[in-house]
């Protein structure tokens, strides 16, 4: 019997062409530490740099990389130098302001098993927070310089002026690879492309040679375009000269021999006029300042003239032969690579650690339908805090949230994937039957699952963390391909019970929450109170259910911004309430207590910050009015001392915390109570109820006072007690701040979660399968 060896995966030389981008280059090289494909080397070609990139490369990466100097500021020449020095079977190009996903090389290596494959490229996302978009997906280029960067469906292909036989797949310069032999056979890149169109030119030249190029839907590169010599800080401060010169040259060089010189020349002139029209239009719309507009027109004039002359009369500047340098293939990965902190494309200031961690960093995916700054509800904020803490500890964190369209951005080191569940409403018929909330949540859960799948392929994420609220991870949990942690907050079922919102849909959502919990590999509760409540509400067995406690946290405000309360008495005292105006938040108890307090402290002012929820909790239906109106009608004499602000944004809320003398939140039940941490962050004393999370956060008599829930008189007594003593308020505020920093910072929160995740992952690995495989089958 003949034994056929399986095809061997190729060795890869990653070529990075760089100039004056030390910081982003460092980020890129650090991100290579986490490539899942081991068989690769790195060749860095440094242009005529004016920064200290070379020193950085020597001191931080030393012999692990091959550094080559390129005296010219010319991308194609730089690429050719890299090609000459590469020792791998495949050369892969990536920009110095991008980072690849973990499985980038692993994915692009696979098609090379077929010896006919000449090149492989992948998908690129721009991840700058303001510019986030899908930058490249299955692009095309024609011999006339027409290009498509994003082609989702074949039938959306734009009509090209070039005939079909002259339309070719092309790759994106920041995410392309070729068989080294193939590039050497065509003598590399045309060095007349100093910048831009070098990638399309290679695509067309290989296309004309009938070489096979494979475009992968994945193999993602996250691109964070950085300013440089060809790109200023302003989005329209571009090297327009290079753009048009390269385009015209490209069209004449590739179009001339294929569709004819006159046709390509007339096409080049048409595109030139389009360029002028475009910059004029942008300037007219006010997006391009006048000085940049004048500069752009001047550069375009020069670019068109030079492009035509070079295209018609200059020969291609392709090296006659690229002499491959004889050197050993040097593996990049070292023994410490796997313990290096994760490197997001946009580094977090102050967090550029270069030392290995104690353990391997984790690759995590958090779900949260809302996310700051657009959404500041409790789950959104706690997810944001957790994500930030995990990133600061060195982990790779992806958050899936909702948005108007699919896009990926990177903010504070966290990858944020926005999905539009309503773009593909799978459960629309449920909404038509009256289950609107269920349909919304299932659509989102399904859209999030699709991103989870792609993150599993690209980034090999290890665990998905979903809030119980909204069933966001239900579809992912049912797919059972990854361990899933469910973060328990106040559940829909509890809310429905407290607000007497009994309906078939709410019952169903509550039951689905129970099923979702039963599918979880890990249940993370933020307090003992939440754990107890969830065991009771869903009948979980405390011995059997995989429950762990990880208290929530907060990013401590800098000491310089925190002003402790004064030791002396003040003329006017301010009491702050923050939260939705609803029964569960104890708003009616506060209303009853206010007149009692005012009788003792007429100088006190009450700020009630939060939106009215009377229509949702049934109060309006019962009383025919909202909460502020109810207060004015019932306690008219106290109206002047109470300010109902309605919803307040984050910045305003911060001001309110800093300005108050006492914080009060008499919720009948809180699963945790982030608002107490917020007040403690600004060194303010707090008053809460002996109901749920506040009992664990607030140390009664030390950082604040606790009263029984629903006891307006006790609440009034507590407020009076603290308003009586400025010294006590100050001491409690400072004690609260200390407690926050020690026990409830975002780092403390992230460490608690990390501990539980690791225990869960180790447990899953110890069994050889994800625990998901051992659960009761659902199908």
């Amino acid at each position: 019997m003949t034994v056929i060896d399986p095809p061997k995966s190729p060795s890869i030389s990653v070529i990075v062409n760089t100039c004056d981008r030390r910081d982003s280059l460092r980020t890129l090289l650090r991100s290579f530490e986490h490539q899942s494909y081991p068989d690769f080397e790195v060749v860095v070609v440094v242009g005529p740099t004016r920064d200290d990139s070379l020193e950085m490369l020597t001191t931080e990466f030393g012999h692990r990389i091959c550094v080559v100097r390129c005296p010219k500021f010319n991308l194609s020449a730089s690429r050719n130098l890299g090609l000459a020095h590469a020792a791998g079977e495949v050369v892969a190009f990536i920009d110095d302001d991008a980072v690849p996903c973990r499985n980038w090389m692993s994915q692009i290596s696979k098609p090379y098993v077929d010896p006919e494959v000449a090149g492989v490229g992948g998908r690129t996302h721009i991840v700058n927070p303001e510019q986030g978009q899908l930058q490249f997906f299955r692009g095309l280029a024609t011999v006339l310089g027409e290009q498509t960067d994003v082609l989702i469906r074949d039938k959306d292909r734009p009509p090209f002026a070039a005939p079909d036989p002259y339309v070719f797949p092309r790759f994106h310069g920041t995410n392309m690879s070729y068989r080294r032999r193939v590039l050497l056979d065509i003598n590399g890149f045309d060095e007349n492309f100093e910048y831009l169109f070098d990638d399309a030119d290679i695509g067309v030249r290989l296309g004309l040679e009938k070489r096979r190029l494979v475009q992968l839907p994945d193999a993602v590169v996250y691109h964070a375009p950085t300013s440089g010599r060809n790109r200023g800080e302003d989005p329209y401060d571009l090297n327009w000269y290079s753009w048009l010169r390269s385009l015209v040259y490209f069209t004449l060089k590739n179009g001339g021999p294929t569709v004819g010189r006159s046709k390509s020349l007339s096409h080049a002139l048409r595109m030139t006029s389009t360029f002028f029209a475009h910059v004029d239009e942008v300037a007219d719309s006010g997006k391009m300042p006048p000085h940049l507009h004048a500069k752009a027109r001047k550069m375009l004039r020069r670019g068109a003239a030079v492009g035509i002359l070079q295209g018609l009369f200059l020969k291609r500047r392709i090296p006659k032969k690229i002499a491959a340098i004889d050197r050993d293939f040097e593996l990049f990965l070292g023994p410490e690579s796997e313990r290096m902190p994760a490197s997001p494309p946009i580094p977090v200031p102050g967090n550029e650690r270069a030392t290995p961690l104690n353990d391997q960093p984790l690759r995590l995916c958090l779900l949260s339908v809302g996310f700051p700054p657009t959404d500041t509800h409790g789950v959104s904020r706690s997810t944001h805090t957790l994500a930030r803490g995990l990133v600061e500890l060195g982990h790779e964190v992806h958050v899936i949230t909702s948005g108007r369209r699919l896009r990926v951005t990177c903010d504070e080191g966290v990858f944020i994937h926005q999905v539009a569940g309503e773009e593909n409403p799978r459960y629309g018929d449920l909404a038509a039957r009256g289950y609107q909330n269920l349909a919304f949540w299932l659509n989102h859960s399904h859209a999030a699952f699709e991103v989870v799948e792609s993150l599993q392929r690209d980034n090999a994420i290890q665990l998905v963390d979903s809030p119980l609220w909204g069933l966001e991870g239900l579809v992912t949990a049912m797919r059972r391909s990854l361990p899933i942690a469910v973060r328990v907050v106040t559940s829909m079922k509890q809310i429905a019970q407290v607000h007497d919102q009994i309906s078939p849909e709410n019952d169903l959502l509550g039951e689905l929450e129970g099923r979702f919990l039963s599918m979880a590999d890990l249940i993370v509760s933020n307090s003992a109170a939440t754990t107890h409540a969830i065991e009771e509400v869903y009948g979980l067995d405390p011995e059997e259910a995989p429950i762990g406690i990880a208290p929530y946290g907060m990013v401590p405000a800098p000491d310089s911004l925190v002003s402790p309360l004064p030791e002396h008495d003040v003329d006017e005292l301010s009491v702050l309430f923050v939260g939705r105006l609803e029964k569960r938040k104890g708003i009616l108890d506060l209303f009853e207590a206010i007149p009692v307090v005012l009788a003792r402290h007429p100088e006190a002012k009450f700020i009630v910050a939060g939106s009215d929820n009377s229509r949702q909790d049934g109060f309006f239906a019962d009383h025919g009015m909202d909460y502020p109106t109810f207060f004015r009608k019932s306690f008219g004499h106290a109206t002047n001392s109470v300010d109902f602000t309605g919803f307040v944004d984050e910045a305003h809320l911060e001001e309110l915390y800093r300005a108050c003398d006492l914080f009060v939140a008499p919720s009948l039940y809180e699963s945790f109570g982030l608002i107490f941490l917020e007040a403690m962050n600004w060194a303010r004393p707090v008053i809460g109820c002996l109901a749920g999370g506040p009992e664990e956060i607030v140390i009664d008599g030390e950082t604040g006072l606790l009263v029984p829930p629903g006891a307006a008189e006790k609440l009034a007594d507590a407020m009076i007690e603290l308003l009586n003593s400025s010294e006590r308020r100050r001491e409690m505020g400072l004690a609260g701040r200390r407690r926050l920093i020690e026990n409830y910072s975002h780092i403390a929160m992230a460490r608690s979660f990390e501990h539980l995740y690791r225990a869960r992952l180790v447990d899953a690995e110890g069994h050889g399968v994800s625990k998901t495989g051992t659960r009761t089958e659902l199908s």
Partner: protein, 116 residues
């Protein structure tokens, strides 16, 4: 809130429905779509290299005389492929509707182990 259309939803029905959607998502690249992509690729290859093999010069000459007919033929093929793609999409949509209806009405009650 009123739920006027059909029987009230139950947890098993919802879970069954999610499984249906999952199957559709996981098998999204259907054989029809893959075949269509292959045919489009063949069509492009034909347009790039319509003749080959022996007597290439003669064949090219013949092709040159008949090129406009091939152009028209290519447009017809392109239109047919678009139509087939739309039909495939319609077919998927109908299959989805059917699966959703079955998920609602014919789902097995997992907890009881019997059809509802």
């Amino acid at each position: 809130m009123r739920h006027s259309h059909g029987d009230p939803l139950t947890v098993p029905k919802v879970l069954s429905r999610i499984r249906t959607e999952l199957e559709i998502t996981v098998n999204e690249a259907s054989p029809i779509e893959r075949r269509l992509a292959q045919i489009r690729s063949m069509q492009r290859e034909f347009r790039e290299q319509p003749v080959g093999g022996r007597f290439l010069a003669v064949k090219r000459l013949v092709y040159w005389f008949t090129a406009s007919a091939f152009d028209r033929q290519a447009k017809v093929v392109e239109a047919l492929l678009d139509l087939i793609e739309e039909l495939a999409e319609e077919n998927r949509r109908l299959a989805l509707q059917f699966a959703r209806a079955a998920g609602d009405d014919g789902v097995r009650d997992e907890e009881e182990g019997r059809p509802e």
